[in-house]
């Protein structure tokens, strides 16, 4: 229902984009195409490597008798609006329950974690960004594997590490990614890089801030990650219930 108004509010931006598209000259398009081709080649090469690693990972997990990680499904969506409240960090996407989006789905862009779906209507969904001051993500340090909680600050370019013991091994430039704990965000998506670590004598906690890797201010496309369906009741119990 809110869609027509948000679409209308987006018109000036679409129009400027169109003008920019029309006025791009042939030379720069060709150059762009060449760059994209090189990028595609590199990504394809990495993809081959990834498939091999994934297969190996599954085999090793089987050997260890632990559960295999199920692949999650991704839906591509476009940002069609930004709610006007300056105190909340949120965007509106053009996919809703018609595309099987449910509240709690994680949203990522090409560089890292973007946010999570909080509200879904027929053909739109509201996404709260990771920088919203009420948002928090279970995370881990990519370098050491230490568990931590990444909280939003309300500013678009800053996240904080909450209640981190002063003894934690944390350096500037460390990549922090999702830990998958809590089951809401899939494991392994980059959240941000540590840009300041400070420990004071009188505080048992480390003061550390991150810069999010995702481009949170841009308008464009993002991916909605739907976690793989896991039955709440293990099969054996379900059978017992029936009998």
């Amino acid at each position: 229902m809110a869609r027509p108004i948000y679409t209308a509010a987006q018109v000036p931006y679409d129009a400027t984009g169109l003008v920019a598209d029309i006025s791009t000259d042939r030379q720069s398009l060709l150059q762009q195409r060449e760059e994209l081709r090189v990028q595609l080649l590199q990504l394809n090469q990495q993809q081959q490597r990834l498939q091999y690693l994934q297969a190996e990972n599954t085999r090793l997990r089987q050997l260890l008798n632990s559960k295999a990680q199920l692949p999650s499904q991704a839906t591509i969506a476009e940002i069609i609006g930004v709610p006007p409240n300056p105190l909340r960090a949120a965007v509106i996407l053009d996919k809703g329950s018609a595309n099987a989006v449910v509240p709690g789905d994680a949203v990522v862009d090409e560089k890292g974690l973007f946010g999570q779906v909080v509200n879904v209507s027929q053909d739109t969904s509201w996404v709260v960004l990771i920088t919203d001051r009420d948002h928090a993500i279970p995370a881990r340090s990519n370098r050491t594997g230490a568990r931590m909680i990444v909280g939003g600050t309300g500013a678009y370019d800053s996240l904080v590490l909450e209640d981190l013991p002063a003894s934690t091994d944390l350096l500037e430039g460390d990549l922090i990614d999702t830990s998958g704990l809590g089951g809401r965000f899939p494991v392994g998506y980059p959240i941000g890089r540590v840009n300041a670590v400070e420990s004071t004598q009188d505080s048992p906690y480390l003061q550390a801030t991150l810069v999010p890797t995702a481009a949170l201010l841009k308008v464009g496309h993002v991916l909605i990650i739907t976690p793989p369906k896991i039955d709440a009741v293990p099969p054996t119990e379900a059978i017992e219930d029936e009998s």
Binding site: M1, I5, P84, P86, R133, D134
Partner: protein, 183 residues
């Protein structure tokens, strides 16, 4: 002069769009705290003229030419509340919040319509400032209670920017749909 119904529909649509319009990337973010309350200003324009014609969608919905005996007030309040419910879905705010604000503002305006006409533009601006200030404090209180949004200076800044916009709004309305008349 345009048909008032057409003009009013366009103004309502435009103010809905302007209420959700987001600023371009490079612009300073503090500007978002000064977004005028377009919808309340539009409401004031509209309510000022309710006695003479019954608004754009209002004419569509209630074509009966009701002699004004309080039924109009009630109908206007219901209509404004419905608009408020739509705005709630637009803004993602607690359901009914904008309806309550719009209906209260509208009731006040209908009640003191005559008095408002006698005031100078400057006095009208002060009145609009007070009205939006109180409404925004109520909104901030509800948002603080329901989704624990922190208090800030938005009631003040929003009221100030809306007040400063009123002369232009008023001039446009007078230009396109004629002066507001006494009841």
């Amino acid at each position: 002069m345009l048909a008032p119904g057409f003009f009013m529909t366009a103004v309502i649509f435009l103010s809905l769009v302007l209420s959700v319009f987001h600023l371009p990337d490079g612009w300073p973010s503090w500007l978002a705290f000064w977004r005028p309350q377009w919808l309340v200003l539009t409401l004031i324009l509209w309510v000022q003229r309710v006695p003479q014609y019954r608004g754009a969608l209002f004419q569509l919905v209630f074509t009966k030419n009701a002699a004004d005996d309080g039924t109009t007030t009630r109908r206007v309040l219901v209509y404004v509340w419905l608009l408020g419910l739509y705005v709630d879905t637009l803004m993602g705010e607690p359901f009914g919040l904008n309806g309550a604000i719009f209906a209260t503002v509208t009731f006040y305006l209908l009640r003191f319509h005559d008095r408002l006409q006698l005031q100078t533009l400057f006095q009208q601006m002060i009145m609009i400032f007070m009205m939006i200030f109180v409404a925004e404090i109520f909104r901030a209180f509800v948002l603080n209670t329901v989704i624990s949004q922190p208090w800030d200076l938005q009631p003040l800044t929003l009221a100030a920017s809306s007040m400063l916009l009123w002369p232009i709004f008023n001039w446009l309305a007078q230009r396109f749909i004629g002066p507001s008349r006494r009841n």
